[in-house]
Point group: C2
């Protein structure tokens, strides 16, 4: 691992690292915030953030305002990139497919299969890497935004026992039913919708093997609401008896201004589970 940025931040340190990933077969970058407790040598729980379409590791660490809350609660916050990248990695001219749009799945289709293995990367390789290289415990939380909210919900549902807490901002809750998800999942997983439903939070809720409470914040002025469909998650959780706190916020849009406004409560939600 090579550290390529470091900045003092709220008594801790915001770092950016690069490493050669065996999951994706390319170099990956990630943000790592170390709270003051970690700099003092204490082992801290780790909160993983998954970003949305077009983002790199930079969007969250520069705009979300999470560091102050992570510092207060003594949490490490890890923010990986949203896909494999580089000259040898397949891509598409559209913003919602290929680099910057990994959708947190392991692709089975060409030309994506060799590198687009973001599920393995986030659920397996990344926690092992963090717990080896940083003063981290194995208490893990997972959250994200939009495509990354989809990633947080589906990876938590597909890997029970791996995360102690989960939340999302403006998640794509039913990718198999909306254009962003149908396009990406068809490209990465093939044309059979059964394969898509294995990566669809709304479809997975009924068979959830653990009942991690879901905290979801959604702006009512979100320009992408037709891609997000929070009402489908509410119906699925109601039907399955899955604990859900879904908060709809009048006037808020899809931007990091929305995320920053409710970041304190998300970090506190995870801290209760990870340090409680």
């Amino acid at each position: 691992m090579e550290r390529i940025e470091q900045h003092a931040s709220f008594g801790g340190r915001q770092e950016v690292w690069r490493h050669a990933s065996r999951s994706t077969g390319c170099d990956m970058r990630l943000g790592v915030y170390l709270p003051p407790a970690a700099l003092r040598g204490e082992r801290c729980p780790v909160l993983y953030w998954l970003s949305g379409l077009t983002c790199t590791e930079q969007n969250f660490i520069t705009k979300a305002g999470a560091q102050q809350h992570a510092a207060a609660h003594g949490l490490i916050v890890v923010a990986p990139d949203t896909s494999p990248r580089g000259e040898g990695v397949a891509d598409d001219p559209a913003y919602d497919l290929g680099q910057g749009a990994g959708f947190y799945v392991n692709a089975t289709q060409q030309p994506w299969a060799p590198h687009f293995r973001m599920e393995d990367y986030v659920a397996q390789e990344l926690p092992a890497l963090i717990e080896q290289h940083f003063p981290a415990t194995d208490a893990r939380g997972l959250f994200g935004h939009s495509m990354g909210g989809h990633g947080a919900l589906t990876l938590a549902l597909r890997h029970p026992g791996r995360w102690r807490s989960v939340s999302a901002f403006s998640p794509i809750v039913a990718p198999s039913q909306v254009p962003w998800g149908q396009k990406a999942l068809a490209a990465y997983l093939g044309e059979d919708p059964a394969a898509w439903r294995a990566h669809d939070a709304v479809a997975l809720i009924a068979g959830a093997r653990e009942r991690l409470p879901l905290l979801i914040d959604q702006g009512e002025a979100d320009e992408f609401l037709p891609q997000l469909r929070p009402e489908l998650l509410r119906a699925a959780c109601d039907a399955a008896g899955h604990p859900l706190t879904l908060r709809l916020h009048p006037g808020y849009d899809h931007s990091y201004y929305f995320i920053a406004s409710f970041m304190a409560e998300h970090v506190a939600h995870h801290a209760r589970a990870l340090r409680g």
Copy 2:
């Protein structure tokens, strides 16, 4: 004035406006944060932020994390661009001259004189515009970063009575003594150093007509310390009996990670003066 962005943020609204400026003779953009109190129709004091080299109105509003504190204290926060811009506006290939590097002076030299009138813009036109178009009182605070810290200090010193409070992060305190300032002030104001000293906070302190207390935060790991020279401001304030709180922070650099870490205290400093 034309509103070109608006985002709900911490119960208030972050907006971006464009208007035709008579000071600079071109369209200017600015960020305006309206706290919840302003959205309820209360008139609020206004805190003006001046950004550093290369910045537009976007850097502060996306990265500094000021909105949460402005919301709590009921302050409007206005963040203008750092220079005139556009195809008809003079520029230089270097990052530290021309567009993005206005240095908050009225240029007297060609090719800069027609548009580079940032002192008039920030000290005169902008407050009048804000107080006309928004629910603003005439209680004004001024702060900034790096070149914008220089702008905050010098505009406060050159326009006594116009601002009730002033502070800065990592300011260029003595532009007439450091390379950034010598280059820009020579270009904008000509080769006579006497003209530069009229825009040099360290040179202005001795003759200050009011004693606004200065709050300055400076990172000790700032890669630009040789351009900033906080010790010169300390000496000038000591000699003149000017009230100065200069805080040096081990490990912090020149970035917005540093600014965000101490933003709460700066906004509180201004709120005491503007609402006290």
